[in-house]
Homo-oligomer: 326 residues x 2
């Protein structure tokens, strides 16, 4: 089973066919960064059109059992998530509404401070806000997973501790392998995994040692070391594949509506756009390369199967439904 | 001249007539707490109806010169402001739009963390956010005054220092007179007034020593001591009069849409609603009592005139227009 813990592609029939070619059974697709509730609904609508147009390739997914259905029919199950709490605006009542519409992951922050917690680009991280604690409890109740991929250290640790259910870092790598601002320090990954949570390894070049030139061996060795440190069962892939997106999209991701000046985020004035992917992971067709690479590190077959998809499957099964029914 | 730096009444012809009876030449009226942009526009619309219905009592005001016009015709000039940045949502472009619609004050926070800064009810105050710094610069540019009445200490001091124009605490009292969470410590008031800003003294009972039983003498003595400490020219009145509001409104102010549980704010389970006003300041008719009380403290006539309205007039004149035209 192959499950990708996060993608934000410029979706098309081509990409859906590449998912099929790569044997990808399920993807958590980002459908909002800075969108308001109403704008997010438009994105749900767009996906409804795609499900209608490509019924042989993709299927709308809400539960782990939908992955079984997708596998049986050779399709890819699409789960929805947000990389910012913008879709819920200032309204805790929208948590349940968004879950009803199909949302299964919500980051408490993108790079900046939100109403809930602090993003990893702020100078200081004061941890969860009053509203953040209330919203985590509501997310726990309905089965909307807390994702802290873009949050600050303190906020992430507090979220892992405050949440009564496991949380996720869907797309990031260990900071001690590649000290990018978005990669996670040991204490942060430990707080998440010790509370039953998941870390999805990112293939986004800014998160990779040597960026686009990162070798598959280095990446897979990092995964194997993480399995020793945190337990292979807490690990998955969250490729952060942003395939076929124009650079205007990464500008929108970074700047939204919060600034009138240019923010380069993980990039720089001389490297402002989306970075090119490494040669061994061009797109959905290349999950097999990672699987082979992981085997070559000495991880056993069960560990590799878990990291490639089995662990996300278990996590989805346990965390997407109501708290009392979990 | 009498100017009130903040009111949030359940507006009616009765109240507009009381303003006239009390010789109130201008009021900064709160028109949003938790309202979105669209909801705030409805509140601008409601005020347009009132200006149409009561042309002999009130006048829509955008500039200090509108106060002159109101005085000449015996009416009250109404300026608009927000006690939270909710009306601008996540969109820095709305700062200029809201100024064009007539907004002249915006609090960077109500009691909780906002996208811009930290409210005084949060456990930790990390100061201005990345977006907060950008938004203050934009507010400075267009002439929308930063109001930190409900913000944390660190956020307020950083706002006073980051802002290139004077800021305001429109409605609060010194913490060393009455140590309420909403009252302001010396270092906070100093940071605001030393940068040319204003403090408006609140008559809201939770901000008064002995609450509703506070004596006029104690209040006026506190004002006189503040004049010695901070300079009388930086002081005004910001009564925080919430006349004729049902208790459901204070529940909305405190809880908005951020929590499913009851937050009592400055109140308590046994004192949950709006507290009764002190006998010497029932409503707009009683500004004369304060003026007399201030004279009795030994403040001179110019100081009293400034505190009752002249200082807000000067502040409005200097801070409501574009930065380059100020």
């Amino acid at each position: 089973m192959r499950i990708d813990g996060l993608q934000y592609a410029n979706w098309s029939e081509k990409i859906f066919r590449q998912m099929h070619a790569g044997g990808v059974n399920a993807v958590h697709a980002t459908i909002a960064y800075h969108e308001t509730f109403r704008e997010t609904v438009l994105n749900f609508e767009q996906w409804n059109r795609w499900f209608e147009q490509y019924p042989d390739l993709i299927v709308k997914a809400q539960w782990a059992s939908d992955i079984d259905r997708a596998r049986e029919s050779g399709r890819t199950a699409i789960f929805f998530g947000f990389q910012n709490p913008s879709p819920m605006e200032d309204d805790i009542g929208l948590v349940e509404i968004l879950h009803s519409l199909g949302a299964r992951f919500m980051q408490l922050t993108y790079n900046n401070q939100s109403l809930l917690a602090t993003g990893c680009y702020e100078d200081y991280d004061a941890g969860l806000t009053r509203m953040g604690r209330e919203v985590i409890a509501e997310m726990n109740r309905v089965g909307l997973v807390v994702d802290m991929s873009h949050s600050g250290d303190r906020s992430t640790i507090e979220a892992a501790e405050h949440s009564t259910r496991p949380i996720a870092i869907t797309h990031a790598n260990p900071h001690d392998w590649h000290p990018a601002l978005r990669n996670k320090r040991d204490k942060v990954i430990s707080a998440v995994t010790e509370n039953g949570g998941m870390l999805g390894f990112s293939l986004y070049p800014h998160h990779l040692k040597n960026s686009t030139a990162c070798t598959m061996e280095s990446f897979c060795e990092m995964v194997a070391r993480s399995a020793e440190r945190y337990g292979a069962e807490h690990l998955g892939i969250g490729s952060d594949l942003c395939q076929d997106q124009p650079d205007s999209v990464v500008e929108w991701m970074r700047m939204g509506r919060w600034t009138k000046t240019t923010d380069y985020g993980e990039g720089s004035p001389s490297n402002a756009g989306f970075p090119p992917m490494p040669s061994w992971f061009r797109d959905n067709r290349d999950f097999g390369n990672i699987e082979e690479g992981l085997r070559a590190t000495g991880l056993n077959a069960d560990e590799v199967a878990g990291i490639m998809g089995g662990n996300w499957y278990r996590f989805f099964r346990e965390n997407f439904g109501p708290e009392d029914g979990a």
